[in-house]
């Protein structure tokens, strides 16, 4: 996943400088531009043009306003996630969204990539946390949407439009977030299983559980091996169902007991629990699994939760390792190490995608640039895609921002 020799990188020091740079670029040089924070999601989407200028957002990292007692914060988008997390923790607050590579990843990048992790089941994703933002369009015009209050329907919700837009509509420069209190503790109850089929009966039972998990994670043995530095137990289970719980310690322990009573009746016999620091390692491992490396082709699939196990069975037959947010229907998978050619990758990606689409969802591969055309990154064409193209044309008519990244042609 290499971007061949990126141009030397402009790094605006202020939001005003950002506007000036983009305005000048739109008027004079007219380079294609991709906003880059921590550089952790450059592999995402179609291949960027090799002459695309990387616009470094990381100098925009000021805290603009943090009225902690309002449970909102306004920061510049280039702030690193780790720095934001530490700041919020000092007030016993958090964002509630698990973002991998926190020392590198920026808030703007996480927003533009719509990154999330295991807690999305209980805490939602970026679209639920962003209540306002400022952004700069390709012509250097700054605009804002939303505001600094948690209840606001004035104007169109352009915050939602920008979440997941991968730098193709505007450069996000400042974000206001709705925050959550930090829970007293968190823990996992993990169930080793001999088959994915066994997992389905447990997942079905969980739809009516008396507990309220904040994460429902299903991953196979080969993924567990990758989580091994974070996984407290060695075991040869075929797959694992791990349920995350948060709250007061009493609350978490009660839920461990209650959910194991529920699942025991379905012949789940072994339960391993981790709470506090032990759980922290597992949260981190499950969050980081989605990080892709250039050598190993990978994918993200979305399916209806009731079809997760069927999809995973197919992925398993093909030799993939996978971890999934099973109650949300989100799967991260890696093709086997033996996949060395694009044809071999296609022979797996195409049927997996067909399976995901049949389950009402989609599949997006992550792979070397050279393979992206064959495998098809976006691979959707339906009337709503036309609306997306319209939006792109309205906001970036000259096609300067990350051209080709989502649709391939614009």
């Amino acid at each position: 996943m290499s971007i061949t020799s990126p141009q030397r990188v402009p790094q605006p020091a202020t939001q005003s400088d950002l506007c000036d740079w983009l305005r000048a670029n739109a008027t004079v040089e007219r380079h294609a531009v991709v906003p880059v924070g921590g550089g952790t999601a450059l592999h995402s989407g179609n291949t960027l043009f090799s002459d695309c200028v990387h616009l470094d957002t990381t100098a925009l990292r000021r805290v603009i306003d943090y009225p902690a007692r309002d449970m909102t914060i306004t920061v510049e988008a280039g702030i690193r996630i780790a720095e934001l997390t530490a700041l919020l923790a000092s007030e016993n607050q958090r964002l509630g969204i698990d973002i991998p590579q926190p020392a590198l990843a920026t808030l703007g990048g996480a927003l533009a990539s719509n990154v999330s992790g295991p807690r999305r089941f209980g805490c939602g994703t970026m679209r639920d946390a962003v209540i306002g933002l400022s952004a700069v369009d390709a012509g250097g015009r700054m605009f804002k949407s939303g505001g600094r209050v948690v209840k606001n329907v004035a104007g169109y919700d352009l915050c939602k439009m920008l979440v997941g837009s991968q730098g193709t509509l505007a450069v996000v420069s400042q974000v206001t977030l709705k925050l959550r209190p930090r829970p007293e503790t968190s823990g996992f109850l993990c169930v080793p299983l001999n088959s994915l089929g066994a997992a389905e009966s447990l997942l079905d039972r969980l739809t009516s559980t008396a507990t309220r998990p904040v994460a429902v994670e299903l991953f196979n043995g080969s993924a567990a091996a990758e989580l091994s530095t974070n996984w407290p137990h060695s075991s040869t289970a075929r797959c694992w169902l791990c349920l995350g719980f948060e709250g007061m310690e009493r609350e978490v322990l009660w839920q461990f007991q209650a959910v194991s009573d529920e699942l025991r009746t379905l012949a789940a016999s072994e339960f391993i629990t981790a709470i506090g620091d032990d759980a922290t390692r597992l949260w981190a491992g499950l969050t980081e699994f989605q990080v892709v490396s250039p050598q190993i082709p990978a994918f993200k699939a979305t399916v209806r939760p009731s079809r997760v196990v069927a999809f995973l069975e197919q992925a398993e037959r093909l030799g993939c390792s996978f971890a999934s947010h099973a109650a949300n229907g989100i799967v991260f998978g890696r093709l086997p190490n033996s996949t060395k050619t694009v044809d071999a990758a296609a022979a797996m990606i195409h049927p997996l995608r067909a399976c995901a689409v049949a389950a009402g969802g989609s599949l997006t591969p992550f792979c070397d640039d050279a393979w992206k055309m064959s495998l098809g990154v976006f691979a959707r064409s339906s009337p709503d895609v036309e609306l997306m193209r319209t939006l792109k044309k309205q906001l970036d008519p000259a096609g300067l921002l990350s051209p080709g990244r989502i649709f391939g042609d614009i």
Binding site: A154, Y156, L158, G164
Partner: protein, 491 residues
């Protein structure tokens, strides 16, 4: 722009040819065109601005909606969708007449899938009917605006409706996975779906709250929420509004997220007591309805913390609901508070401002001072937990001077909300009522970008014309300077 009232002569805006074609699409029983039949549709919950549509049609399928829209395009006739007409901002006002497309006959629940936690419903389905349908399944539909007994899911989609539980559970957009729409050019599109994270742009999120200006919603895919296991519902009684608002601020500041936190001041309590006899103390300056929900093992602790905070800020008393029946009674009095206002004055006007939670004491003081300054009585019942205020200005609209003062007071309050870093609308929408405030909340650049987005989806402007965004220099926005605000109070 002229407001047209019933009985005045009006030029026909729809040709016989178009009328015939509409009858072909929806059938004779699916159309209203006689002047007296159109009366009901000349305004919504914002009753001061009125304009009659030329015709109202009642499609029963998406294809019919698409055919109607294409017909309107061919003949350049404006069209506007309408659900139950409960909009408090004039969202359903048919500016320029044209075809009103009422979705009320499209009210089916098409699919309920508990395993995958979604339901697919038609836009005319009444909000409460969905949750009632789900009773006993262990799931409900979370957004519950106070008008939920009448308002429709399609209308909720259009305005991104809230309600008292948004503090913990979010607003409509947080519970919508996708939708089917007829675009302003008649194309049928599906946004999102039954899965999360649809690749590409989050069009669903962008379209929720578009107030009918991007197209007409013909199906909604909603997220279903597990019923909470346990509730603790309390009523804090305070000797001053300042104590009550400080309590709210302290509860949020302590990192507690109640399921609901609603304030009613003395004026509203008086009206509610006279109407419903709940046993509220008439001499309390304010009462706070506070609810926590969650696991049985956790709610008592949270309730205790809240009671302690109330006592620290000088609550005279904190009552707890000891049974589901008592809980429902407490909620009934809150949800029916607006219905009791008729006892207080012939007309009222409500605002929908928002301020950061910590500024609640300040804005409530400002509201009191503004009322005094303009000689207008103002009572308050609102979603305190998320800073969404609903000051209710009481007056008699037959008195032109009172009307003038109400306008001044309303504007002062909303401008103060803006000054405090808030918003002019937390849940009712801009509609036509607040178009003049958009340029106080947003810069020209902000409005230009919003216009770009809208023009991409609605280039002709025939769909819901002159809503939400100010039209630069065009005739048609003068009326929203509001010559006469207010609403006749429901008795």
């Amino acid at each position: 722009m002229t407001t047209t009232h019933a009985g005045t002569a009006k030029k026909p805006g729809i040709s016989r040819e178009v009328l015939t074609r509409l009858v072909e699409i929806v059938g004779k029983s699916g159309i209203l065109s006689a002047r007296e039949e159109l009366l009901v549709y000349e305004c919504d919950g914002f009753t001061i601005e009125k304009n009659s549509p030329d015709v109202v049609v009642f499609p029963t399928t998406t294809e019919q909606v698409a055919d109607i829209v294409k017909l309107c395009n061919r003949h350049e006739i404006p069209f506007v969708p309408r659900g139950a007409g409960t909009s408090l901002a004039g969202g359903c006002l048919p500016i320029g007449g044209g075809v009103m497309i009422a979705l009320t006959r499209m009210k089916q629940i098409l699919e309920v899938n508990l395993r995958d936690r979604y339901a697919i419903v038609e836009p005319g389905l009444v909000n409460l009917h969905l949750t009632n349908h789900l009773k006993g399944t262990g799931f409900h539909y979370a957004p519950d605006p106070s008008s939920q007994g009448a308002c429709t899911i399609g209308g909720n989609f259009a305005t991104n409706s809230g309600g008292p539980h948004t503090l913990k559970y979010g607003v409509t957009v947080n519970h919508v996975l996708g939708a089917e729409l007829v675009m302003p050019d008649g194309r049928i599109v599906t946004l999102g779906g039954t899965c999360e994270d649809t690749p590409g742009y989050d069009l669903t999120g962008l379209f929720v709250g578009n107030e009918g200006t991007f197209g007409i919603c013909t199906k909604v895919i909603v997220r279903l929420t597990r019923d909470p296991v346990a509730y603790r519902t309390m009523l804090g009684i305070f000797n001053s509004v300042a104590d009550a608002t400080q309590t709210i601020s302290n509860i949020i500041g302590a990192g507690i997220v109640p399921a609901a936190l609603e304030l009613m001041d003395q004026g509203i309590v008086e009206a509610v007591e006279a109407a419903f006899h709940f046993g509220f103390p008439l001499d309390a300056a304010a009462v706070l309805l506070i609810e926590v929900d969650g696991l049985e093992v956790a709610v008592d602790d949270e309730a205790r913390k809240i009671i302690s905070i109330c006592e620290q800020t000088g609550a005279r008393e904190v009552r707890s609901a000891n049974s589901p029946k008592e809980r429902l009674l407490l909620w009934k009095c809150r949800k029916q508070a607006f219905g009791a206002i008729g006892r207080l004055s012939p007309s009222y006007c409500t605002q929908d401002g928002v301020v950061p939670r910590t500024k609640l004491p300040e804005i409530l003081e400002f509201i009191t001072a503004t009322g005094t300054q303009h000689g207008i009585r103002i009572v308050n019942v609102f979603h305190a937990g998320d800073g969404n205020i609903h000051p209710i200005l009481l007056f008699d609209e037959r008195d032109a001077d009172q009307v003038r003062r109400v306008l001044l007071a309303s504007d002062a309050i909303l401008e103060k909300c803006i000054e405090m870093g808030g918003s002019v609308t937390g849940e009712h929408g801009i509609g036509v009522e607040k178009i003049s405030l958009m340029s106080k909340l947003f810069t020209q650049a902000d409005l230009d970008v919003m216009a770009l987005v809208r023009d991409g989806f609605n280039p002709t402007g025939l769909c819901s014309p002159k809503k939400m965004l100010p039209t630069a220099g065009a005739c048609g926005t003068e009326h929203v300077e509001r010559t006469s605000p207010g609403r006749r109070a429901a008795m």
